[in-house]
């Protein structure tokens, strides 16, 4: 069975609860729980290979260019974590089915849980570091959704935000670390990375890589000083705490440390970092667990403490210490999940989690009491439970370490402190809830009693496992831990014996001391509390909130600096950054001037260049005298079209010339509707700034162009030049490119053109008009609206212009011309009629609907393209042939001509749509929401 099925199954499992939620809680829970159980069975089907120390893997290529593959593996470490994720996962789902109140959206809850499960499985199964990271971030997201499941509560929202910020930021650090690893090793595949351990340890970037990876692991696994999010994540529903924040997600960081141990571990830097963080976390968490009053708070801090313990063991870095770490991962998951579940039961039954208001529940809830007692004993490290075994191993290893040289005895001492505190808070939890007299019970609706079977059985099963693992460790745990240890340590994996009794030795005496010390601490708890109230209590959440607030303020400040609502300012900033980046690129050239010799300048070209430059500068200077500015602009535009002729681009010259005419008409029309004379400007500083900015950009652009022109031209156009006649059947290569080689692009362009035309309808619809009755000096407009000479000339020109446009259109494939140019000429010829005779006169004689023409053009172009499908060719493949037509003679007919017809119609339609619409605004035919015909008929009613 391919490995991919396992995470795929749980991923599909996110849909199961959503689909079954309507069929009742029981059905939904059962259907959901089947998914992880099946996945577990799939995982266990690989057991024989794994127990021999083997690895199963599956590779699917995903984004090879990034080194990201869908590569999965199952080895001993995966097996250990997979058992926890899927085994405890299915138990928690059953538990949650009873825990959630009937009004809650269980489909959503279970769906999030399955999403989280998938992400977690992805982390432990990933055989590619990038893939691992993707799932790593997915757990942060799923955890956010789950902590914030009760989104109506502000503490849930805050806890979710905090967890996401801390673990998300750590995830980014991890990504940076992974990228550095990939850079060093040359691959993100886990086998490659694990095999490159020596190379990584000797790399100059090793300290950075290690720090980044540890940052990721420590934030996820709540190591001091990043632990503070975990107690706040307790705002989540209790099944979430039991699953994510005790047995699985917080272990992801530890998993990462174990997984990368062959690649990054085994250096003194690694050991010291882990040991220090682990020790600090161990003692810190245990101390605050002892002071905490909230049931889940105690468990949260104790989780922090135990995570520190595992990190410490990994840091001690002897083969047996790593075995002990793996063993404790298993043990902690078993007893902590149980304790969380029982905390949920107690909360459910009594309505409070404050241990000062709980007590004397033993006689009321014997089953819950029993399982809490068992798991609590395991957490305290009492024999014969599993916690005792791993704690003894820790004490042995702590005594044996030589990590800090002369200061080495600090480690066992601090571990002893941690163990003592651990006994104290575990006993306190059990004692205060079940045995101490209760003076101040909460007002519950009913007397607390044991919950239904479904709610306590999962916890009871785990509690029994705690006992059984403690009694028969060699049968139940050793094979699993052995394979996991092989996966982490390879050939160094030691042989080991788990046993309750090692004879009377120092670790046993230390355990005994811890138990007695713990009882004493519990007995004197009042004194401890008052002592603690004297110590300064670090308020990490407040510091965190403050930091976040400050960050938001700072970004707001920057945003407001950049974004003050002035478009001119944005424009200037954008141009400034463009200037910076282009100048940077230009400065990397060795010399501005290339090695191609310059051509000589001739007089006519010099004249043209001068006209363009004078026109450009003039239109900038005269921008307040708008008509003058416009005339200067048209001077530049016309010379540009001459420039195109000068430099062998006749098609462009023709296009530019006809567009120039159309845009001048447009701009003069615009002048009529816009204020004739803008108010005076003021700040000369602003002008200096703009002149400098524009000048330097102009300089950079000119420099870029010069650098380009004086270098060898490397063109890809040889293909077009040699295939134009045989492939496209035309000698005008520019036109063949437009209608044949790159026909699809042209189709896009005429679509944009048509859309721009159609948009004018919307924009001009019900426009409020500023209609000046005279010019700026107060002289009224002339009453002679249509000069007679123009009327006559326009009428004479129309048939000639149409003839020319047909000619230009037909010859376009072989000579300069084509649909674009012909379309513009036709449009201008028709436009001239509107100018000469007015809108009403012309439109009554030219009953054309320009949107329709434009759309017909588009349809023709698309159909021509689709036509090639009929003959089994790809979209827009053109075909041509030579035919003998009577009177005309031998003529070439190409499907490209049909396509060009579409272009022609689209251009005519769009151009006229824009200009005629704008022109008609002042008449009674202005566009409204209704179509032109309806408007015309409506006008009759007025």
């Amino acid at each position: 069975m391919p490995l991919l099925w396992i995470p795929l199954l749980t991923l599909v499992g996110t849909l199961v609860p959503l689909l079954t939620a309507s069929r009742g809680r029981l059905f939904c829970t059962a259907a959901t729980a089947i998914v992880p159980i099946t996945a577990l069975a799939l995982l266990l089907s690989h057991l024989p290979i794994l127990l021999d120390g083997g690895t199963v893997s599956q590779q699917l290529s995903w984004i090879p260019l990034l080194g990201l593959d869908l590569a999965l593996r199952v080895d001993g470490l995966t097996l250990l974590f997979g058992l926890l994720i899927l085994g405890i996962g299915s138990l928690i789902i059953i538990y949650a089915g009873y825990y959630l109140s009937s009004s809650e959206n269980d489909g959503r809850f279970f769906s999030y849980m399955m999403l989280f499960m998938t992400a977690m499985l992805g982390i432990v199964m990933a055989d590619n570091l990038l893939l691992l990271w993707l799932f790593w971030e997915l757990t942060s997201v799923a955890s956010f959704l789950l902590i914030g499941f009760w989104g109506h509560r502000s503490d849930a929202r805050r806890g979710a935000r905090m967890a996401l910020t801390v673990t998300g930021a750590g995830g980014l650090a991890l990504l940076a670390g992974i990228l550095l690893i990939g850079h060093e090793v040359g691959s993100f595949a886990l086998p490659d990375v694990l095999a490159a351990g020596d190379q990584l340890r000797q790399a100059s970037t090793y300290p950075v890589i290690m720090a980044l990876v540890l940052l990721g692991a420590f934030t996820k696994s709540a190591q001091f000083p990043f632990h503070f999010w975990l107690p706040h994540a307790m705002a989540a529903p209790t099944p979430v705490s039991a699953y994510l924040h005790s047995s699985t997600m917080v272990k992801a960081g530890i998993f990462l440390l174990a997984r990368l141990h062959p690649a990054l571990g085994d250096t003194s830097l690694w050991s010291i970092s882990l040991t220090l963080a682990g020790l600090a976390t161990l003692v810190y968490g245990a101390w605050f667990a002892l002071l905490e009053r909230d049931l889940k708070g105690i468990l949260a801090f104790s989780t922090v403490s135990h995570l520190g313990l595992v990190v410490l063991l990994l840091g001690l870095n002897t083969p047996l210490a790593i075995v002990a770490a793996l063993f404790h991962i298993l043990n902690h998951a078993l007893f902590k999940a149980t304790l969380f579940m029982s905390a949920g039961i107690i909360d459910h039954e009594t309505g409070t989690r404050d241990i000062r208001r709980l007590g004397a529940l033993w006689s009321l809830m014997p089953i819950t009491g029993t399982l809490t007692l068992m798991a609590g004993a395991a957490m305290a490290g009492l024999p014969p439970f599993n916690g005792f075994l791993s704690k003894e191993m820790l004490l042995t290893k702590a005594l044996a370490t030589d990590l800090f040289g002369g200061l080495g005895s600090v480690i066992p001492l601090l571990v002893l402190v941690g163990a003592t505190l651990s006994v104290a808070y575990s006993l306190r939890l059990v004692y205060c809830v079940f045995f101490s007299p209760n003076d101040n019970p909460p007002e519950a609706a009913h007397t607390p009693h044991d919950p239904p079977k479904g709610m306590y059985l999962p916890g009871l099963m785990l509690a029994c496992l705690c006992l059984l693992v403690g009694l028969f460790p060699m049968t139940l745990a050793a094979p699993l831990i052995r394979t996991a240890s092989i996966a982490v340590q390879g050939d160094n994996a030691p042989l080991f014996v788990f046993a309750l009794w090692h004879g009377i030795n120092l670790p046993l005496l230390m355990s005994l001391f811890a138990i007695l010390g713990g009882i004493t601490l519990l007995w004197r708890h009042k004194n401890i509390s008052s002592l603690a109230s004297l110590l300064p209590a670090p308020n990490a959440p407040a510091l965190f909130e403050k930091a976040v607030t400050r960050l938001i303020k700072a970004s707001l400040w920057i945003t407001l600096r950049l974004e003050n609502g002035s478009l001119q300012r944005y424009q200037a900033l954008l141009l400034l950054s463009a200037l910076g980046m282009t100048a940077l690129g230009l400065s990397q050239l060795e010399t501005l001037s290339g090695n191609v010799a310059m051509q000589p300048i001739d007089g006519l070209t010099l004249l043209g260049a001068s006209v363009m430059m004078i026109g450009a500068i003039g239109s900038a200077l005269a921008h307040r005298w708008r008509l003058v500015s416009l005339l200067m602009l048209s001077m530049v535009g016309l010379t540009v079209s001459l420039t195109f002729i000068r430099f062998s681009a006749p098609d462009l010259a023709m296009t530019q010339l006809s567009v120039e005419v159309a845009s001048m008409i447009l701009l003069i029309l615009a002048l009529f509707f816009l204020p004739q004379r803008p108010p005076r400007w003021v700040s000369s500083r602003r002008i200096v700034r703009d002149v400098l900015l524009a000048g330097s950009l102009g300089l950079v652009i000119a420099g870029l162009n010069y650098a380009l022109l004086t270098r060898e031209v490397l063109s890809i156009s040889d293909y077009f030049l040699s295939n134009s006649v045989p492939g496209g059947g035309g000698t005008n290569v520019v036109n063949v490119i437009l209608v044949d080689f790159r026909g699809f692009d042209t189709l896009g362009e005429i679509t944009v053109l048509t859309l721009a035309g159609l948009a004018t309808y919307k924009l001009l619809n019900r426009l409020r008009l500023f209609k000046p009755s005279g010019n700026i000096e107060g002289i009224r407009w002339s009453r002679h609206r249509y000069p007679m000479i123009l009327e006559v000339v326009a009428q004479i020109i129309l048939p000639l212009a149409l003839l020319v446009s047909v000619y230009i259109f037909l010859r376009g494939h072989n000579q300069p011309g084509g649909g674009f140019i012909a379309g513009l000429i036709t449009a201008i010829a028709l436009l001239l009629q509107y100018i000469a005779r007015g809108y009403e006169w012309t439109s009554s004689r030219l009953p054309l609907s320009y949107p329709v023409i434009s759309v017909i053009g588009l349809v023709i172009a698309v159909l021509t393209g689709l036509g090639s499908w009929l003959f089994g060719y790809p979209f827009l493949t053109s075909s041509f042939g030579y035919f003998n037509i009577p009177l005309v003679g031998k003529t070439e007919l190409a499907t490209a001509l049909l396509f060009d017809l579409g272009v022609y119609l689209a251009v005519v339609g769009a151009t006229l749509m824009i200009l005629v619409n704008l022109g008609s605004v002042t008449t009674a035919h202005r566009p409204t929401l209704k179509t032109t015909e309806q408007t015309a008929s409506k006008e009759g009613n007025k």
Partner: protein, 113 residues
């Protein structure tokens, strides 16, 4: 010749950009037109500056690079459509807001807000 060509492009772009930075819609439309002339000339020049060699097969021994020309041809037409769209947008903005300042506020052109 090349230097002169670059110089023209530089002057055209500088004038266009200066107009782009003005506060009134009409100046910006004119500025964009100037800038697109400069850009079109620039693009055509990427194929080199050729004399008497249109990209028509058989018309000259060494035809000019047709690809930039095809690009620019559509760019000119699209540029027209876009500037038409902008002109109409500017007219509409003036009609809605009562002035032709880009920020929609009738204020001192030199003021920062």
């Amino acid at each position: 010749m090349e230097l002169l060509f670059s110089l023209v492009i530089g002057v055209l772009s500088a004038s266009g950009i200066y107009l782009l930075l003005r506060g009134r819609t009409f100046s910006i439309i004119v500025g964009l037109a100037l800038l697109s002339y400069a850009v079109n000339l620039f693009l055509v020049s990427t194929g080199g500056l050729h004399t008497h060699s249109a990209a028509v097969i058989g018309a000259s021994a060494a035809p000019a690079d047709p690809l930039p020309q095809a690009l620019v041809l559509t760019a000119i037409v699209i540029g027209f459509a876009m500037s038409a769209f902008m002109v109409i947008l500017a007219i509409r903005a003036r009609a809605e807001l009562g002035n032709d300042h880009v920020d929609g506020k009738q204020g001192e052109e030199g003021s920062t807000r």
